[in-house]
């Protein structure tokens, strides 16, 4: 390598590698953009003029990282060329966060020498930090609760169902305390005690709870059985998580968990009749999209808000959709700043 100026030249040697990946950083932190809410995640949260910033990403966030040295692209691009567009790399890089592989949805050249990597932050990060005690509790819980033992203790994020099961010795109390978390593969079940009741009405108030706060069902929500309800459960970091499952087992039917948000899946044969303004985290309703309309959610003039930052919702493209019979489906920001609630999932 030679540097030439009007005053002379300097020559040195350097090792040439086919691949020499490097992620661009802010200070000691990888620089990332969270496209869902156009936020720069810079590790500190320090302000950057003209942009919204955040200190940290959340499990499940879709992020864009920027790098150089990711080698060849499937379509060759001459070095130095200033271009617009994106050219995928021939090889998809492996990205790990906290030692856990992140799902990489895109890797490509987006500028001269500049590569972009789109990935989803693993939802399993935080439970890795939990104590061994908690890990054992979780695994034991999984074994007892289901036959297939399909729960993986390191998963901290579930879309599924909650189910009430009461310990026989505590049945009397169980009825008063609501739900018990049990594993069934990667699902939980939530069942109502009386199937004739409107589950949506039962749960609309606060089942998702405030994120980061303890959940304790209101009295009217404690008698739940038989009805399954789609649910997304997050158990993420925080000191209380060390005792989470311990409390669980002791109280049997009393649930105190953190970081809960609602997820909803509507299959091709179902219709969601919205009866109030509602918020969900992930909304799986691919069969209902028709252009910018949603055909199988009857909005009745209400607004449904979905979390646009979740990869599960990426197919919405962050757009607003109109609902049948009035109302709209609109994107919202991060799951950690809102208090989602479940509405009717029937």
């Amino acid at each position: 390598m030679t540097v030439t100026t009007s005053a002379g030249t300097a020559t040195t040697t350097a090792v040439l590698s086919a691949v020499l990946p490097g992620l661009f950083t802010f200070g000691n932190y990888v620089a990332a953009i969270r496209p869902g809410d156009s936020t720069i995640v810079n590790g500190t949260g320090n302000a950057i003029t003209g942009y919204s910033t955040a200190a940290a990403a959340n499990p499940g966030d879709v992020l864009s990282l920027y790098a150089t040295g990711l080698a060849a692209t499937t379509t060759s691009v001459a070095p130095g060329l200033v271009f617009s567009g994106a050219y995928p790399t021939s090889a998809t890089p492996t990205v790990t966060i906290g030692g856990i592989a992140a799902a990489v949805s895109f890797s490509g050249l987006v500028g001269a020498g500049l590569y972009q990597i789109n990935l989803t932050v693993p939802a399993t990060l935080d439970l890795r930090r939990l104590s061994g005690c908690c890990q054992r509790e979780w695994e034991q819980f999984a074994r007892e609760g289901v036959s297939d033992g399909g729960i993986r203790g390191r998963n901290s994020h579930y879309t599924g169902y909650l189910r009430k099961v009461g310990h026989r010795r505590h049945q009397r109390h169980a009825d008063g305390y609501g739900c018990r978390l049990v594993g069934y593969g990667q699902r939980f079940f939530l069942r109502r005690r009386k199937p004739s009741r409107d589950l949506g009405a039962e749960f609309r108030r606060s089942y998702a709870g405030n994120l980061g706060a303890h959940y304790r069902p209101a009295y009217r929500e404690r008698n739940l059985r038989w009805k399954q309800h789609p649910f997304r459960l997050y158990v993420t970091g925080g000191h209380d998580n060390d005792n989470f499952f311990e409390r669980h087992r002791r109280r049997h039917d009393a649930y105190f968990f953190r970081h809960v948000a609602a997820a909803l899946t509507i299959d091709s044969t179902s219709v969601w009749n919205v009866t109030a303004n509602s918020t969900v985290t992930s909304l799986i309703d691919k069969s209902g999209i028709s252009g910018t309309s949603i055909t199988n959610i009857v909005g009745n003039g209400y607004t449904v808000t979905y979390n646009a930052t979740l990869s599960a919702n990426s197919y919405f493209g962050g757009l607003t959709y109109s609902l049948a019979n009035g109302g709209s489906l609109i994107p919202a920001g991060s799951v950690t700043t809102s208090a989602p609630e479940i509405t009717s999932g029937e």
Partner: protein
């Protein structure tokens, strides 16, 4: 995402500060600044990946070169510097070749050059 121009080590920082100080002296004595009079030097291990600061070169990767007298002034490439839609191969009086092939330049200062290999 702008690339961050910075030195890879305190040692280079010291050199850089010293060089900047030196440049100011030269500048004050000879206004306007004339062409460089001291030949460039590249510090040992001063060819690194611009993002990771790992030593080495890779095709199409941004490379930072640290040294002294590498350019006559500090310039970040702008649209006016483009040549036929390409980044320039000469910036602030400096040019870089890798295995004899001109490298495209994004930033030049007396102590640092950013080039695309």
């Amino acid at each position: 995402m702008s690339r961050v121009q910075r030195s890879p080590s305190p040692r280079v920082n010291e050199r850089r500060r010293a060089t900047v100080l030196c440049s100011y002296v030269v500048f004050l004595l000879a206004v306007p600044a004339a062409a460089q009079t001291s030949p460039p030097t590249i510090v040992s291990g001063g060819v690194v990946n611009s993002a990771s600061y790992v030593a080495g070169v890779s095709p199409s990767a941004w490379i930072s070169i640290f040294g002294t007298n590498l350019a006559s002034s500090t310039v970040t490439v702008g649209s006016a510097d483009l040549v036929n839609g390409n980044l320039p191969t000469t910036l602030s009086g400096a040019s870089v070749t890798i295995d004899g092939i001109p490298a495209y330049m994004d930033y030049a200062s007396p102590t640092q050059l950013n080039v695309e290999a």
